[in-house]
């Protein structure tokens, strides 16, 4: 059988999971083994039907990411010196500066990448983690939320790169020079921690019904 169309054919029927069939699937390559098998013979990954330690790691990295996101917003991201005058700007301050210059598109990209994405990621991961913790079986839309979070996280790094490029480029002695602020470090850490948090999530947990109910 082939083609894209057939994926939808059996959606209405209850899905048989590997765990319900007494099997364990490899999270890396999808090969199937009897439940209790130690490691995948194809790719060498350790086999777990559901990674129950995954939630602990998700929460830990998420909180770490949220904590370092605070100094990232409080301290300056950029220190600009023009003709001897020094000004400092934070993430949100930088967005306002761009708007004053009339670059609304770029201001939107920066605001989206450095504020909207990180904050929505915190909320989305916490929401998914909370659902799994409560044993609420998820649907396709919860899984899509997870996929979006996993996909979009790395794009928040934009602002760190902008600071790096500006600091490298704008070094014109007295006329103008730009130096990175300490917020760049905490912002980069925040993005990295939230990425690790999202990567630690075992997406198979999203679908599960509580013990005893048919899956």
């Amino acid at each position: 059988m082939s083609g894209n169309g057939m994926a939808n054919v059996e959606r209405a029927q209850p899905v048989l999971t590997a765990r319900a069939a007494g099997l364990v699937g490899c999270a890396e390559c999808g090969h199937v083994y009897p439940l209790g098998t130690e490691a995948c013979t194809v790719c060498g990954t350790r086999l777990v039907s559901r990674d129950m330690t995954s939630l602990q790691r998700v929460w830990a990295w998420l909180f770490a990411g949220m904590i370092v996101y605070i100094p990232a917003n409080v301290y300056p991201m950029l220190r600009t010196t023009t003709f001897g005058k020094t000004s400092e700007s934070t993430i949100v301050g930088g967005v306002f500066e761009l708007m004053e210059h009339g670059s609304y598109g770029i201001a939107f990209i920066v605001f989206f990448a450095s504020v909207v994405i990180p904050v929505s990621k915190f909320i989305a991961i916490a929401y998914l983690g909370w659902r799994v913790q409560r044993g609420k079986p998820g649907t396709t839309s919860h899984f899509h939320l997870y996929e979006i979070v996993e996909f979009i996280g790395r794009w928040s790094m934009i602002d760190v790169f902008v600071v790096a490029i500006l600091s490298a480029l704008v070094q014109l002695n007295f006329v103008a020079s730009i130096h990175p602020g300490i917020a760049a470090v905490s912002f980069a850490l925040s993005v990295a921690f939230t990425m690790i948090s999202a990567n630690s999530f075992d997406p198979r947990l999203i679908w599960d019904a509580p013990e005893g109910k048919p899956v």
Partner: protein
């Protein structure tokens, strides 16, 4: 339907979706078509014509472009008779004073070291197979490494960062794009093309089928 599980199926004929654990029979898929998980839509099998050869070619191209992108001048800024050329290397060193040194290492890893590692790993895994040989030693662990690096190789994010930075300085001074900028743009396009040819589960099946056991 091909997806139905029968009690007579052996384990090697089944596949569990890595994302939602739904059990499927390994579907027979024509070259160029793809089969997705019935529950979550994750692509399970997607064979492509000459996929391995293309991945190897694209990775090699990307490696060459990366060398150009790092060492050629990237952007040039001029105002009030003062000029400054900077390369990707300078962008990495931007954080190199004092407290921020670790960030310099991180930026170097994200935009240069990890992408290069990933290209080399993919060449190592796919080149022997593209030539019709058995997979190289440790090909499996190397491919696993390449897949783990994937979210951390941020060349395309860097390019968008460059665009934002350009707009920010546009009012301040005249900016000229250097050859390295175009090398980096090419690199990003190649990376996206290459990742389109790769389906993780298909690669594992091929690696498994071609390995002498």
């Amino acid at each position: 339907m091909a997806y139905h599980i029968r009690m007579t199926d052996s384990l090697s004929e089944m596949i569990a979706c890595p994302k939602c654990d739904a059990l499927h029979r390994v579907p027979q898929v024509d070259i160029g078509a793809q089969a997705s998980c019935v529950r979550c839509g994750t692509v399970l099998v997607a064979p492509r014509e000459g996929a391995m050869t293309r991945i190897v070619m694209l990775s090699m191209t990307a490696l060459i472009l990366m060398v150009a992108a790092v060492f050629f001048p990237f952007l040039e800024l001029s105002t009030h008779g003062l000029g400054r050329k900077s390369s990707v290397f300078d962008a990495i060193l931007a954080f190199s004073d004092g407290l921020m040194l670790p960030l310099s290492f991180a930026v170097a890893a994200l935009i240069v070291v990890l992408p290069i590692t990933r290209f080399l790993a993919l060449i190592y895994v796919f080149a022997p197979m593209a030539l019709g040989w058995a997979p190289a030693r440790h090909a499996r662990s190397v491919f696993k490494l390449a897949e783990h690096i994937r979210p951390w190789a941020m060349a395309e994010v860097f390019i968008i960062g460059v665009a934002v930075a350009l707009v920010k300085v546009a009012g301040l001074a005249q900016v000229t794009l250097g050859p390295a900028f175009w090398a980096f743009v090419g690199l990003v396009i190649i990376t996206v093309l290459k990742d389109n040819f790769m389906c993780r589960v298909t690669v594992w099946q091929t690696l498994n089928a071609r390995s002498p056991s």
